[in-house]
């Protein structure tokens, strides 16, 4: 593996990534070469390391995402670069992000299951938006009455968020399991029952000292 060959391959890879303007997999990069001139996968992996190193201190970087490698503008320069675009980057509603989060962490998941956790109906608009952005897709139907569609995230979702796999999503916060909750409640209940009994007899004194909003209640009705 001589240096000149590696530099040559590096330039070809850079050229291809910039020409494509989207991620290219190692397979796709190998396809650029003639049969008798095709670099081995391992060599190409070494070349990618070189490409990455050559981006050091530049305005762009090599990023590995789910569908391959791409050259992208570094986050540090987003401030200036975003001025190029008249439109502000799209903001997504909480409803959409929560739905997306549930699909990402709980896939495959049906709309009904999402609604159960969120406690509200999921609008068709949101599902359509996610499907149109190709962030989610239907991966099957649950074998229950109505055969609802099950949704999962796509490679495009991972690409969009700079991820190579779902493992890279931030971990979900811990939840104490139901048994724990039950025990805790049991304990707390004892006190509360006693307390709420006293409340019954003296409703005006209700509430804990830390909620001074008590008195203003009548202004509501």
């Amino acid at each position: 593996m001589n240096e000149e060959r590696i530099r040559h391959l590096q330039a070809i890879v850079e050229a291809a990534l910039l020409a494509a303007g989207k991620p290219l997999s190692l397979d796709q990069l190998q396809e650029l070469f003639d049969d008798n001139d095709r670099p081995a996968r391992q060599l190409l992996e070494h070349v990618m390391v070189q490409v990455e190193a050559a981006c050091e201190g530049r305005g762009f970087e090599l990023k590995k995402v789910a569908s391959g490698y791409r050259l992208q503008v570094r986050e540090d320069y987003a401030k200036w670069v975003s001025r190029l675009f008249e439109e502000k980057p799209q903001r997504y509603s909480r409803a959409l992000l929560e739905t997306l989060a549930l699909i990402a962490y709980r896939q495959p998941i049906t709309r009904g299951e999402i609604e159960e956790i969120r406690g509200v109906t999921v609008s068709s608009n949101i599902v359509r938006t996610l499907l149109e952005r190709e962030w989610v897709r239907v991966v099957g139907h649950r074998d229950v009455p109505g055969r609802p569609a099950m949704y999962a995230t796509t490679r495009q979702f991972l690409d969009y968020f700079n991820l190579t796999s779902l493992d890279q999503l931030p971990p979900l916060s811990e939840v104490r399991d139901l048994e724990d909750i039950g025990r805790e409640i049991e304990k707390n209940m004892q006190g509360e029952i006693a307390f709420s009994e006293s409340v019954e007899t003296q409703p005006d004194a209700a509430g804990e000292g830390d909620t001074p909003s008590q008195d203003s209640q009548q202004t509501l009705h």
Partner: protein, 279 residues
Amino acid sequence: MMEDAASNPTIDAPEDDAPAGVGPLAMVSGKPLVEVPKDLYIPPDALAVFLEAFEGPLDLLLYLIRRQNMDILDIDVSEITRQYMDYIGAIEAMRFELAAEYLVMAATLAEIKSRMLLPRQESEDDEEHDPRAELIRRLQQYERFKKAAEDIDEMPRLDRDNFVGSAALPKMPASQPHPDVDLREMLLALQGVLKRADLFTSHHVEKEKLSTRERMSSILQALSGDRFVSFESLFTPEEGRLGVVVTFLATLELVKEQLIEVVQSDVFAPIHIRSRAAD
């Protein structure tokens, strides 16, 4: 309703459950509503906006719980229920359309509250049917994904934090891609054509070595142009005896097929050959 992604553009929904923190909770008639008033009085036109800031009853409950600095596991059901009912009552009084989920939650809270007032039974249902445990489970579960949604929103993403790099293309060769061919594919084709032509009966073909045909081609190539070439120059001594034989056989075959003519001006004079079809 609560869910519509494209909500009223003048309303900036709070991104977290502590609206008293950064930025206004909502814009009401152009004025920022910085914080839900402590006294729970909400101007009528703010009420709908206030409700729209929440992603449903679980979200509203979480907000109320957090506002009281309570732990989810330690909810003061009476207090939370009262506050929740106040909001719902106010909104109903304003005749705003209210999502059914909010009413279902109101019923659940009322049930929990009434249960807690009853003396505990010996043979209590298992915890799964304890409505309070169930509510806490749902609140916890919802909060996890609410947090996950915030995390996702924070993650660097394309078109906001990163932009895919692309460069203009140079002049490209207008080349047609060549199909790949497997040698066996070609041989199979040959087999077919031979069957059709019944070439197998041709002894002529059978005994000829392919190297002879190959050499015939290269001799013809060397004879391009209307000129005589000396017979000896066709031979390459480095090829050894076998090469000489192949060249000789190829020459004979070329003569036989009348592709070349051989000229000798005199006995023992140098032999010259040229293509018969030289142009």
